[in-house]
Symmetry: C2
């Protein structure tokens, strides 16, 4: 049977789904109370890409529906980790900023995850990581275009 099912691309998606499960579980086991991976991911995103993004921009960055991002941001705001300010030029929109508590929390969580991940990191060749990362980024663009 050499139909589409045998295309390794499907196997790739399968593997990606499984790693997603594993990494999600790994992160969430190291976050307090009811915090979930998207909470941490958004804090991290704001650090890396910059604060002052709009909710829609963040939703698009993670490829999740905008109402999902509304919910995630509400959780972060409730915990005092982000601050929501009006958009300077578009009154429909908002901008998202980290609070000091948010920066501190992200730093602590990152340190904890990094510490527990440290034993296994040396097993991965940086070159392989880079190569995989490059391919996945191109795959993301391909999927994004196929989204119609």
């Amino acid at each position: 049977m050499s139909d589409d099912a045998s295309n390794p691309v499907f196997e790739l998606f399968n593997e990606i789904g499984i790693i997603n499960q594993l990494s999600r579980a790994f992160f969430e086991a190291r976050l307090p109370n009811g915090m979930v991976l998207p909470h941490f991911s958004v804090l991290n995103h704001l650090m890396r890409v910059g604060e002052g993004r709009t909710p829609l921009q963040i939703a698009r960055a993670f490829q999740v529906p905008k109402n999902s991002m509304t919910h995630t941001l509400a959780g972060l705001e409730k915990r005092g980790l982000i601050e929501v300010r009006p958009h300077p030029s578009d009154r429909r929109s908002k901008t998202i900023w980290l609070t000091d508590a948010g920066r501190a929390f992200r730093g602590e969580a990152m340190a904890r995850v990094g510490r527990d991940m440290a034993p296994v990191l040396p097993e991965m060749e940086p070159e392989d990581v880079q190569q995989t990362l490059a391919f996945l980024k191109s795959l993301r663009e391909v999927l994004d275009r196929a989204r119609d």
Copy 2:
């Protein structure tokens, strides 16, 4: 700032999460009514790996909690796509089998997804796919061991 945050492994997890979102949305847009990616994935798994697996084996294969698999299997059985039989030697357990309808459904869904994916598949070098797949499988094992 060259702390753990800059480790490309985290970027890798991020990219994996995004591609997971995209591929999930892509698949589910091509499945009927209330069917969801795990439904399709399980059917596919039974075809590839073989029928007669137990729910727990399947849950471990996808790295999801066993109660989540209970729910997914219930959905498949309700739709008549799988059949649950008692385990021959362990009365706590069960075995999962595809029905004819399940095999047919999986074939149709696979064909539809494959057709819509066809335009973008040529953009990916088979060699890159293989390389990525190999690395991700090793990454999965690393994470699995780190699971404690």
